[in-house]
Symmetry: C2
Subunit: 214 residues, 2 copies
Amino acid sequence: MPDEKLLFFIAKNARLHGTLSSSTATVAEHLGISQQSVSRKLRELRDKSFVELDSSPKGINVRLTQKGISVLKGRYFEMKNLFSSKATESIAGKVKTGIGEGAYYVSRPGYSKQFRELLGFKPFPGTLNLIIDQAALQSFLAGLEEVKLRGFKTKERSFGSITAFRVGVGKHRAAIIFPERSSHPKNEIEVIARVSLRAKMNLKESSKVKVSRC
Amino acid sequence: MPDEKLLFFIAKNARLHGTLSSSTATVAEHLGISQQSVSRKLRELRDKSFVELDSSPKGINVRLTQKGISVLKGRYFEMKNLFSSKATESIAGKVKTGIGEGAYYVSRPGYSKQFRELLGFKPFPGTLNLIIDQAALQSFLAGLEEVKLRGFKTKERSFGSITAFRVGVGKHRAAIIFPERSSHPKNEIEVIARVSLRAKMNLKESSKVKVSRC
DNA sequence: ATTACTATAATTCGAGTAC
DNA sequence: TGTACTCGAATTATAGTAA
């Protein structure tokens, strides 16, 4: 089986039905292998009818064949089956009034820019803490994309990376966040949103909250 | 980067959060590589924290770590982006009354068992032919799983393989079929269902039909 | 600029086998 | 039975270049 990394690279850059016009050296740079290897691997893909390839001293033009698309699609649906087949659509949690250490954390400038870019909102400086059944949480998160926020350092201290998952709470777009070094027990999650969910949804200790895919 | 094929095999067989109890020889057989290679690759995955591995003279127990799940998820969402982000939800076609060569084809026993198993219905012995815009069809099909029906031989002749896509037409489950050697022009598709769509939906030459994801 | 050939280097694989 | 080590074989990558 020819190189699937390269096949996938072509798919991403030629947009499935288009043509990738480039050079073997450029592709090589992106993949972190040599120009010669790209040249050879492309010819292998061509020989096995996964791509159509025009190469000349001016560069290369590559497009996926139906067979090439088919191979990638097969992989995609295998993975889809793994990640989203039995993923739950929503989970229920119970509000836990915490000391709100998240407030300070979440409003650090090093994070807030990333929140805006990656989640699409500037979070309200405070977190909603929920108690959630562990197993349910696991199968809920299984179907959600991981969003990684990089850690950073200030003069005073360093902040670890954060893993986030886009969700919906009521009508609000929100995110579950897992700071790299969280002090929370495993059945407790932190939720952030553009507004104070606690205030907007009139939540109190032990209120039930539904968290859904987004 | 350690072997992703093996990582994916573990994910499929350990079900993302479970444990795969097996032997290196068994896994090797499934992947078509040697026992020694599986042993080595597993230790590589363990060394890079993609899996937890217990091995003993009794066999192996492997489970994905969070990092391992994360890697696969990353791949999945990259592919999802490729295949389903801009895939269209439905397309419109115009009925073309054909000679109905599909009727005979579709009702051959060699296919009909496969239709039942893979599509979930025994097709009505006739096809609905639609004229469809080529580009729209392409982006519609991009998001749909390919279902492959094997070809077969009878004493008289041989029948080629068929590629099918599960769709919905009106309230009916249906499928677009592409026989391996189709005589149709590229902008014409054949649709099958459990019933006669033409009769049930009262379709005539040039009637408009909406075909949607299913 | 390019692609891609040739020859060598680096890596990966697996047969034999110890435990 | 197992896993996993050693080491030669097979494969894969790339530096140097021709075209």
